[in-house]
């Protein structure tokens, strides 16, 4: 984990400046500015309803699929504006993968779940697909458990396995960023520990943004932590600093459970 003594060496992957977000007339995010570094884990914490999920979804524009939304201000990936930089949202979603709060495997076989993404982009060759599927399942620490039952339905797996399958599915299209919205909230401590281990391994070559209500989890896995409150960014810093010497009184109160 990054400590205050070592300087940041990784470039900024995602940058947000003065970003407002509205569902229809309702303002949900208000004047956000922050940077997310490549190959780091950034945790987002804050009370329920403060806009964490909404913020996450802005990075791959997935909310555009179902609701009328309005984003103003700048959001960039590798210096290119996500909303106005001429990025194709379908390509953006391939580059910026997402793992949801509730495991949502397709009602298909384990193999088909992982192969779904590559197939979308025209990958047909059986041998290559097999390789991609195995690789993704290994990365998500699921391979040994499922290698003999790849043809079985994914909906018959346990919740923790399903969530790791969803991670494998996201990894199979080789994303640059992985957004995780409370990925462990439906899991038991053992499954949670597995996924946390995974996160630490995956950040070797992936930028990870994770929303969590579990402060210990944020402290364990993340390099940076951002604290949101009512749609505003109250404070963002190295996780170590946020948890030991936060600058804002509110952050400290929240972390010690004195409000929220």
């Amino acid at each position: 984990m990054l400590s205050p003594q070592t300087p940041e060496t990784k470039p900024v992957k995602l940058s947000v400046r003065n970003m407002d977000f509205r569902y229809g007339e309702k303002k949900v995010l208000d004047g956000l500015s922050l940077d997310i570094h490549a190959e780091r884990v950034t945790a987002i914490i804050g009370p329920s309803g403060c806009g964490k999920s909404t913020f996450l979804k802005c990075f791959n524009r997935i909310h555009e699929v179902s609701s009328a939304v309005k984003v103003s201000g700048d959001m960039q990936i590798d210096g290119v504006d996500i909303y106005r930089g001429g990025i194709d949202e379908v390509d953006l979603r391939r580059r910026v993968g997402m793992v949801f709060q509730k495991p949502n495997p397709f009602p298909k076989s384990i193999y088909e779940n992982v192969a779904f993404g590559p197939r979308l982009f025209g990958m047909k060759d059986k041998a290559t697909l097999d390789g991609i599927v195995e690789d993704a399942l290994r990365k998500s620490a699921l391979w040994d458990e499922v290698k003999d039952r790849l043809k079985e339905s994914a909906t018959g797996m346990s919740g923790g396995q399903q969530q790791r399958l969803c991670i494998a599915r996201a990894l199979a299209v080789n994303p640059e960023v992985l957004l995780m919205d409370e990925p462990c909230s439906a899991l038991d401590p053992i499954a949670t520990a597995k996924i946390e281990e995974l996160i630490v391994e995956l950040k070797e070559n992936l930028t990870i943004v994770i929303v969590t209500h579990n402060m210990q989890q944020a402290a364990r896995v993340s390099d940076y932590t951002a604290f949101f409150w009512l749609g505003k960014l109250i404070e963002m810093d190295l996780t170590e600093r946020i948890f030991t010497t936060p600058r804002e009184r509110m952050t400290e109160d929240y972390l010690t459970g004195r409000f929220g």
């Binding site: 391939r94 979308l120 969803c166 299209v173």
Partner: protein
């Protein structure tokens, strides 16, 4: 501090529960009994008439001993043709309404139109078909007039069933698909439609069954005669179906064995419908296992 509330099971609620269960059970049983008696009576009356000759002979117009070979063919042919027309249209319209139209006034109006069309009595469609296809287009009483009018009966139902089934696809699944970089079309084809397939299939069977049993529309568009060659795939010849035949022989009254013919025809229709429903049930189970 208020006294602790004690929660005791209430006798009454348990009794109501039991009574309700018994009542529902009784209703279901009564329904099955009525159905069994009904189907049994039809099959029993038709049984003596049912033999290979009845199924493979041409119908007679004046003498006893006619068969229903062309009527069986016409029934199946017309249902297949009408589905071939209405399935693509209904599916397309349903997909459009569920996935592309968005919300708003136009969609609500469209939905109202479709529901009205779905509730239109078939005799109204029959007269419409006769005026437009039989007379104005000059297609006369023919398979094609029948198939197209029958399609008008099917389209709203298939549209609605498709729309409802697609709206029932969990949002999480669609999000998962979009999240991997799928386009809207890919999401519809690879995620939404497979999930909705069993619902659409059920709707399709209901539609096929209704079309198979439909008489009013076909009396006025496909006619009460049938081609003398068999099997006749031409679209321009008249094509009397089983249900039309059933109606015609009993109301016309020139056949000495009209009663027997009617009983046999009814039995054949029931058997066909049973087989249809049963095979679809099996197919549905197969699909469900792979898509849910």
């Amino acid at each position: 501090m208020p006294a602790a509330i004690s929660y005791r099971p209430r006798r009454l609620s348990r009794v109501t529960d039991r009574v309700m269960r018994l009542a529902l059970w009784g209703l279901a049983l009564a329904f099955i009994a009525v159905l069994a008696v009904f189907v049994g009576a039809i099959l029993k009356q038709g049984w003596p008439v049912l033999n290979l000759g009845f199924l493979t002979r041409m119908p007679e117009t004046l003498d006893a001993g006619g068969g229903i070979k062309p009527e069986i063919f016409n029934s199946l042919y017309l249902v297949a043709l009408s589905l071939a027309i209405s399935l693509p249209i209904g599916l397309g319209a349903g997909i459009y309404m569920a996935e592309y139209a968005g919300q708003g006034r136009i969609l609500r109006f469209l939905r109202l139109c479709i529901e009205t069309l779905a509730a239109t009595p078939s005799i109204v469609l029959a007269l419409f078909g006769m005026i437009v296809f039989v007379q104005m287009m000059g297609w006369s009483f023919s398979i094609r007039s029948g198939a197209v009018t029958l399609a008008l009966l099917n389209i709203p139902v298939i549209t609605r069933v498709t729309e409802v089934s697609l709206l029932g696809v969990p949002r999480e699944l669609k999000e998962a698909s979009y999240g991997l970089g799928a386009t809207r079309l890919q999401t519809i084809l690879k995620v939404a439609l497979p999930y909705a397939a069993t619902g659409i299939l059920t709707g399709l069977v209901l539609t096929a069954g209704r079309a198979f049993g439909e008489s009013a529309i076909l009396v006025f568009t496909a006619g009460t005669n049938t081609s003398q060659t068999f099997p006749d795939f031409r679209l321009t010849v008249p094509g009397e179906t089983l249900s039309v035949h059933l109606w015609y022989v009993t109301s016309d009254g020139t056949l000495p064995d009209a009663r027997e013919i009617a009983a046999g025809t009814a039995a054949v229709m029931i058997v066909v419908l049973l087989v249809l429903n049963l095979s679809v049930r099996l197919l549905d189970r197969f699909i469900r296992r792979r898509t849910r």
